[in-house]
Amino acid sequence: MALSGMRGLSVFISDIRNCQNKEQERLRVDKELGNIRTRFKNEKGLTPYEKKKYVWKMLYIYMLGYDVDFGHMEAVSLISAPKYPEKQVGYIVTSSLLNENHDFLRLAINTVRNDIIGRNETFQCLALTLVGNIGGREFAESLAPDVQKLLISSSCRPLVRKKAALCLLRLYRKNPDVVNVDGWSDRMAQLLDERDLGVLTSSMSLLVALVANNHEAYWSCLPKCVKALERLARNQDIPQEYTYYGIPSPWLQVKTMRALQYFPTIEDPNTRRSLFEVLQRILMGTDVVKNVNKNNASHAVLFEALALVMHLDAEKEMMSQCVALLGKFIAVREPNIRYLGLENMTRMLMVTDVQDIIKRHQAQIITSLKDPDISIRRRALDLLYGMCDVSNAKDIVEELLQYLSTADFAMREELSLKAAILAEKFAPDLSWYVDVILQLIDKAGDFVSDDIWFRVVQFVTNNEDLQPYAAVKAREYLDKPAIHETMVKVSAYILGEYSHLLARRPGCSPKEIFSIIHEKLPTVSTSTIPILLSTYAKILMHTQPSDPELQNQIWAIFRKYESCIDAEIQQRAVEYFALSSKGAALMDIMAEMPKFPERQSALIKKAEDTEADTAEQSALKLRAQQQTSNALVVTDQRPANGTPPVSELRLVKVPSMSNVDHSSADHGVTQENGTLTVVDPQPPEPSADLLSDLLGPLAIEGPPGSAVQSERNLVPGTEGVPNAEDALAIAPVGEQTNTVQPIGNIAERFQALGLKDSGVLYEDPYIQIGIKAEWRAHQGRLVLFLGNKNTSPLVSVQAVILPPSHLKMELSLVPDTIPPRAQVQCPLEVINLRPSRDVAVLDFSYQFGTHVNVKLRLPAVLNKFLQPVSVSAEEFFPQWRSLSGPPLKLQEVVRGVRPMSLAEMANLFNSFRLIVCPGLDPNANNLVASTTFYSESTRAMLCLIRIETDPADRTQLRMTVASGEPTLTFELKEFIKEQLVSIPTVSRGPAPPPPPPPPPTSAPAALSDPGAMLAGLLH
């Protein structure tokens, strides 16, 4: 291959190609890196040719996925070479090897600037390309005006100007606050008159970025865009070289229409008319042709035109034309067109009045759900979900259920959640709803979250008509040979409550019900056993006249569990045994569950919150809305900020006095128990506890749960923040030895768990580690759920907690083996001894083919030991003044704060249970918050925080933290700082104030320290 012109490089590439395996390749690469390193050390001896060669080799090695941690300087230094060949290599390698925040780039700014303002056109091009590809903030600050000049200069040739346009686009997109575009609307309008289509293409991209940010300023560009589009669509005066398979620059057409979508509407009737003429032409004039490239290009234009038509809210006639077109597309053989047809039809749902026309295509869409291509299946599912309403819910949900048994693993969770939501939202009758959920659990129990089955229990409890039906169904499922544990829970619960309604049916005597449920007991996990015990107690209570044989059987079980190691099970066994020996008294205590207070479905709430969030946005971009609503399935629970719509409550026949009912039941129980106490000198637990006990473990949002709920609701929109920011995050590197890749981002999961109390801590193809936590003052109880996802056991399971010195942690025994498809729960008790930001680590390993070891940070973090408290001005100021200065009150100016509005900051604080007290600080730019911290050494301690922001510079602020304990003040201050400056650092060692995040160059040194290495791996 003579073209490369570098023998050494070609030889190296050949060598790599000849490597038999990865190990050989690595050896060859290491050898080469060693060679390059030595050569660079004696730099004097290097000819420009050699330097070039080595720099290319570095890029090649980098491209293969190896770390190249030296030689950056040499690459950058080539930029300042006087001759073109070296300079070119320098620019290209630098822009591929370094990223925008690399320190060495700073060194090059001056050279780059000289090239940009210099007279040499080719140098200008190279420099603009580099800045356009990796230019960061500092480049924007020092170069933006120069680049702007080039773009509009009349003496520059098109090849420079088009690069200048895109370079500016990059700088503006990355740092809109630095690049000054005031007064640019006129210049942009001028640029749109440009004859050179290369410059026009680049300028149009720039315009898209500008109008996306602020369309108001660019109204004058709108008619110009329409003109340009007309010129292209009619192929007027377009040079031959700019047509692509006979189509006048399809890319420019697409971009122009994209820019037009950022204007909310088109006022001028003439402009509007000519635009619609063009659009009509595109919609009607695009035919399917043989040539695949021509087809793609013309359809790219067509789909963009469709999007524009939707955006402009055209007349109904044109809209139905569009739907008809899409209907055609979703049935064609070409998979790309089918995919895009479905995708755009989903977007079309946002347009009013077309839903009915879309529904005509339902059969075809359902067919697509069985498409061999998962991309298409996903689109079909999204569309079906979006188009579902009362009229077609039965069909759609039944299709989804059918599909569930064959669906890809990757889609099942989404599928079952969507089916559950639709069934609840649009159920024509409640028995159908019960059917759907039970089928869901039956077919995809692993993917049915607790929310779903809690909800069905709520419905059944609140609707008397439904109870016998649900009981019959539950009984039927129990006959199946192997049923999912969730099904055991639901049916046991329902039969416990309502099986007496079936007593006359065959196979439904209390005895039979008991024995069929009891058969399942050996197969279930500890979390299900308490439910079963409650069921037995209820069956016993409903058996009138009592059956001594059954009674003895059940008592034997209670006795057996009286010494169970699990406190929950033990307590129930003891209490039920004591209660059931009381005979008639049992009747009242074990009475049917009262109706649940009406509340919005947790599932639907999830869905609506995402929608509400979007509605608050400018509502301009249909596309944007679409994106978010698609995402609803994966979002974590977000706080409600809208009122529940009636449509969803309507489903439940509102009980006449649900709340009163509840409390009177409470009352009755208490009285009853009061008499018990008199009779029996060894009373069981107070009955109020008993009731909450029954509710508690089932967690069907009983009163304590809902209190927590509303607390969480005080913190709007916080959980989304870190996620959104890290949307692109890439899973961090695991230990080198692991060949198993984690699913999802471990660091993100950890962060999310910092804000909520249950969720997934870690997941890979074999295991999922979930976590559920309860915090009370300085104590916490975490439960680790270790779920084996395979059909064979996981062995050599080991979990070791490495607690920091301030936490006392006790992990219950972790079994060595996790059976196939089983979930093991390991409770973990935590006691917070003193304030510290250090983090506990779970060292977890197992064997499945290979040995897998991960180190996971546990979300037992500082803010978990905070309890929100809001203080009034009368309480705040005396405290604030009495804590007069260091070490109890610390002040610090924090720089490099990630910019956020005051409201966002308040949200952030609230989400960490630092409750913002509005109105305390007279200055509107300041923020005052308070919280109570709990630890064994400090007990409950009030903490006060004050933030003073500078509206002119959001990146810095002054923070004052005060509490009655110096370490607490310091740790809390550092904790808040970490949250504000967006770079989460793992703290190690309590004493010295951690330095600001280390500069990247120091990273290799830090890695030699084992603690740092561990911290690094955990990031």
Binding site: I92, W251, I376
Partner: protein, 170 residues
């Protein structure tokens, strides 16, 4: 376009070009970056190489989309946002391939392996900041040719100088 990726059927990387630096965290941790990018590449090649021939050219990945197209043993992939125009990007890929083809004269994977730097030059003439800058093949070809001739001239000059030195020191 967030990034461009060329991978062979065996999962070997032939070219990568990133237009948006990945996350906050990576920005501070340059050391880790390449490993993380390698992770992205592994994930994507797993997704894309596993796909059969008659499926569509789009893969949904994280909250992005990858538009890919296979030419003989090479997969050209470009990663875009959810709401970008997929077909437009599909043709950007083809347009790039056509230019490579014209430049190398019926391009094959070997050309791109041994001349990966040329593939970079040409890509830079096509895309800046992940946006298309020029849609005329003729113009791009002209610019590349001009660059090549600049390099050639420089080589000749230095060649003649070194000749002279050789001559002089004889």
């Amino acid at each position: 376009i967030h990034f461009v990726l060329l991978i062979s059927r065996q999962g070997k990387v032939r070219l990568t070009k990133w237009y948006s630096p990945y996350t906050q965290k990576e920005r501070t941790k340059i050391m880790v970056m390449n490993a993380q990018l390698a992770q992205v590449i592994r994930e994507l090649s797993g997704l894309i190489l596993a796909r059969g021939p008659k499926l569509c050219n789009f893969v949904e990945w994280r909250d992005l989309k990858v538009v890919y197209r296979r030419y003989a043993s090479l997969y050209f992939c470009m990663c875009i946002s959810q709401d970008d125009n997929e077909l437009e990007i599909l043709e950007v890929i083809h347009y790039y391939v056509e230019i490579l083809d014209r430049y190398f004269g019926s391009v094959c994977e070997l050309d791109l392996i041994f001349n990966f730097h040329k593939a970079y030059y040409i890509l830079d003439e096509l895309l800046i900041a992940g946006e298309l800058q020029e849609s005329s093949k003729k113009t791009v070809a002209r610019l590349i040719a001009a660059q090549d001739s600049l390099i050639e001239t420089a080589k000749e000059q230095s060649g003649s100088i070194s000749n002279m030195i050789v001559q002089a020191t004889k």
